[in-house]
């Protein structure tokens, strides 16, 4: 087994590099899962309420599309139902990020060459990457099993193992994709696309049948997770399905890895033009970011169409449950459940747009740390001009994707086009405050710039989990999104909107002033 020499050393090295990333992803996922029994207890405390919920899930296909079918009325079963798909998706993202980071990223940067030239077996790097993902999945399984044991140890074990299995399924999928492409960014995008497809297949299958027996559900690993039926007569053989898929993908990744050269993929790079029309820093920024803007635009438009299509069904369903209605109203305002649902969905897309805008602003940071900014700024390009090229795309792009989400709602829902567009666009001041914070961090303390992700994550957590947990107003107020008027349905309040816009402007100006004064990172 000389092909595995050095795996242990590489695994320790990988875990050391991931000492922040893996704990954070696993902790967020664990918290999301473990907070659920209490939330559900407050919403569906009595047996009658739960029976009612089960009835509704059985009759409302939109609800099943969003969350999945439910198989039992215990708190454990309801927890697995309510967070299963989302915790599974989070575990999948963790797995795919870890694997691509330690495989294709390393090859693309050229670091892999140095490692491979050491006493390291041919398969050691891929194995160590998969093992690192295995550690993340294993710890998640352990924490979830222990944390939910109070709801029934067997069900907790099944759910924990199911989440870990989804994580490893996408870790091995990423391992395959990472062999095919030469670019880590593309490998991450393609694997995330597979995850999105898995979500859509499951949603389609679950909306078509009450118990998830549709073939579409069985095509999706996220469907398998709910079909494992934790806390509701576990079907352990589903884990065999996972194991077979993980083993198959893993084997495929090893075969592919054995047939290609270090640094190369199976898709050869096509030649480009021998001369170019790029003539300004702004044009270059657009060229670098247009692909991602296009991807986000398509995603937001489709999300709008899907949520728009679900609106009537969900409103019917939630309308009957006091607690659920309350949560939507906390997220979306108190003016009829349809508007509350729409407003909570536009608010959610606004939170996701914060991720886009942070990624886009931090392109500046990436250009600088990769040393591409240095020769560029040695030309007749001022720093402000260079930065504003990317910032226009960050700020304008976020406006574009929110607009497209609104148009998606118009296609999917067909009513209230103007108010919904307003609901989408009113998110922008808060999105831009997050962007402004990213600019500030980048401009003043470039080494801290990645903290902008933490800001976006915190905002997402507050906006997503806050209303369900009924956290105090002061915490919700920490997020810029907490100050936005709830549209459609609520009153348009210009005060907070203008304050947020002003704040975003100040943050950007301060960040740019910092950028102008500081040394370039070298």
């Amino acid at each position: 087994m000389t092909s595995l020499v050095g795996t242990g050393v590489l695994l320790r090295f990988n875990l050391r590099r991931d000492r922040l990333m893996i704990p954070v992803w696993v902790a967020v996922n664990t918290l999301m899962v473990l907070s659920m029994p209490n939330t559900l207890k407050s919403m569906y405390g009595t047996a009658a309420e739960r029976a009612d919920l089960l009835d509704q899930v059985a009759t409302n296909s939109s609800f099943r599309a969003l969350i999945g079918p439910v198989f039992g009325d215990s708190l454990g079963a309801l927890t697995a139902w309510r967070v299963g798909v989302y915790a599974g998706a989070l575990a999948a993202v963790t797995g795919l990020l870890v694997v691509v980071r330690h495989t294709r990223d390393e090859e693309e940067s050229g670091r892999q060459e140095l490692i491979s030239s050491g006493v390291v077996g041919r398969r050691a790097s891929l194995t160590a990457a998969l093992l690192a993902a295995g550690v993340a999945s294993g710890v998640l399984a352990l924490l979830v099993t222990a944390g939910l044991a109070g709801q029934g140890a067997v069900g907790a074990l099944a759910f924990g193992l199911g989440l870990a299995a989804v994580g490893m399924l996408f870790a091995t999928a990423a391992a395959v994709v990472a062999q095919l492409t030469e670019s880590a960014r593309l490998a991450r995008g393609l694997t995330a696309g597979v995850l999105g497809a898995a979500f859509v297949l499951r949603a389609a299958g679950d909306s078509a049948s009450t118990d998830g027996s549709s073939a579409l559900t069985w095509l999706s690993p996220l469907g398998w997770l709910s079909q494992l039926r934790p806390f509701a007569g576990e079907r352990w053989w589903v884990l065999v399905l996972f194991a077979a898929a993980i083993a198959g993908q893993g084997a495929l990744a090893y075969v592919l890895a054995g047939r290609r050269d270090v640094g190369m993929g199976f898709v050869a790079t096509r030649p480009g033009p021998s001369s170019g029309r790029l003539g300004t820093a702004g044009a270059l920024a657009w060229r670098l970011q247009r692909g991602s803007v296009l991807g986000w635009s398509i995603g937001f438009f489709l999300a709008g169409v899907v949520y728009g299509g679900l609106t009537d069904g969900v409103a019917d369903l939630v309308g009957d449950n006091e607690k659920a209605r309350e949560i939507f109203e906390r997220m979306g305002g108190r003016s009829g459940i349809t508007d509350a649902f729409l407003a909570s969905m536009t608010g959610m897309l606004g939170l996701v747009a914060a991720l886009y805008v942070v990624a886009s602003v931090l392109r500046l940071h990436g250009e600088e740390t990769s040393m591409r900014a240095e020769p560029l700024l040695a030309n007749a390009v001022g720093r402000l001009r260079w930065a504003s090229g990317h910032l226009v795309i960050a700020f304008g792009g976020s406006a574009l994707i929110m607009l497209l989400a609104g148009l998606g709602f118009a296609v999917g829902y067909g009513k209230e086009v103007g108010p919904i567009l307003g609901g989408c666009l009113v998110q922008l001041p808060a999105v831009w405050v997050v962007a402004g914070l990213a600019v500030l961090l980048y401009g003043l303390a470039p080494r801290l710039a990645p903290l902008a992700w933490a800001v976006a994550g915190a905002v997402l957590l507050i906006g997503w989990v806050g209303p369900a947990l009924d956290v105090p107003r002061t915490v919700l107020d920490l997020s810029p999104f907490g100050h936005l008027p709830k549209l459609p349905g609520g009153e348009m309040e210009w005060g907070p909107v203008l304050v947020l816009l002003g704040l975003a402007g100040v943050l950007v100006a301060a960040g740019l002033a910092g950028l102008r004064r500081r040394d370039l990172t070298t």
């Binding site: 790079t269 021998s274 029309r277 003539g279 591409r372 020769p375 700024l377 720093r383 370039l520 070298t522």
Partner: protein, 298 residues
């Protein structure tokens, strides 16, 4: 005539590291100036200050008569920079990058661009991620030489070039000089410096230790002398500036500080000279002296 570059008393520290510690540098317009020093001496830091990418803590720097920090954009219109390690955008072709850089400087001469691509044997259609180190370097070199600028700042520009391309590079620098452009060339390849540079500055620990033409610098070092004499040598050991004296019968080998050569020759001819070889210091020796001093200081 205005100097292309003047730097005096430049200081720059990163935390507790003093990267530049009172650097002085003068580059005349139209000359090729070698910029030398051991690794970590502060060459790249100095170049980044000259490009306005870093702000000096104190001291003054003038590039083409302007302040490189305050007037960065104006200065950059008239200079082209080639870093030692070129990183390109993965999905832009080399040709696109050359044209972008040209437009972001004073402009690109189209005929010259095509000629340089041919001379450097560069395939401009390849994407950034598929170029080797040497080819990435060529992209930056073509962009710099084809640009219509007054000053070229080259930071170890030939690392990764093969000897053939290295020769092309040297001819290009010669042509730049003939056009009256100024070149600041940071390099470790001493034959390159010896062939190309009118004057050199050697820096060590952020400070300029030597500056001048190669002839002037040679004067500061030792010449090796080997002689066969008619009679026994006399009194050589007592002459100032004589080192490593080795006398075997009538054969004499010694090293002498070049400015003390006269006295040694006089002493040798007094004994009668049968044969004499005198070797001027090579540039390598010149450097080794500074590099070794550097090690000694540490």
């Amino acid at each position: 005539m205005m100097k292309a570059l003047t730097v005096s008393g430049l200081h720059k520290s990163f935390g507790r590291t003093h990267a530049l510690d009172g650097l002085d540098l003068d580059v005349e317009t139209g000359e090729v100036h070698g910029f030398l020093g051991p690794n970590g001496a502060g060459k790249s830091t100095a170049i980044r200050v000259l490009l306005g990418l870093l702000r000096a803590d104190s001291g003054t720097a003038r590039v083409l008569g302007r302040d490189p920090w305050a007037d960065a954009v104006e200065v950059h219109r008239r200079i082209a920079y080639v870093p030692g390690d070129v990183t390109l955008w993965r999905n832009l072709s080399g040709g696109e990058v050359i044209d972008l850089y040209g437009r972001l400087r004073g402009g690109l001469a189209p005929g010259r661009r095509a000629e340089l691509i041919e001379r450097f044997e560069l395939d401009p259609t390849k994407k950034g991620r598929t170029y080797s180190k040497g080819n990435r370097q060529k992209v930056a070199l073509v962009a710099a030489f084809a640009s219509d600028v007054d000053l070229l700042i080259l930071d170890e520009p030939t690392s990764g070039l093969d000897p053939l391309m290295e020769a092309v590079f040297r001819r290009c620098v010669e042509e730049e000089r003939e056009r009256g452009r100024t070149v600041l060339l940071s390099s470790h390849i001493l034959s390159e410096v010896e062939e190309l540079c009118d004057r050199v500055s050697i820096i060590r620990r952020g400070r300029t230790v030597e500056s001048g033409s190669l002839a002037e610098l040679r004067h500061l070092t030792r010449t090796s002398v080997t002689a066969e004499l008619a009679g026994a040598p006399n009194g050589l050991a007592h002459l100032p500036g004589v080192h490593d004296l080795d006398v075997q019968g009538r054969r004499v080998r010694l090293q002498v500080d070049t400015d003390k050569l006269d006295a040694v020759l006089r002493s040798l001819t007094a004994s009668g000279v049968r044969s004499l070889t005198s070797t001027p210091p090579t540039l390598e020796e010149l450097f080794l002296r500074h590099y070794q001093d550097e090690a000694a200081v540490r």
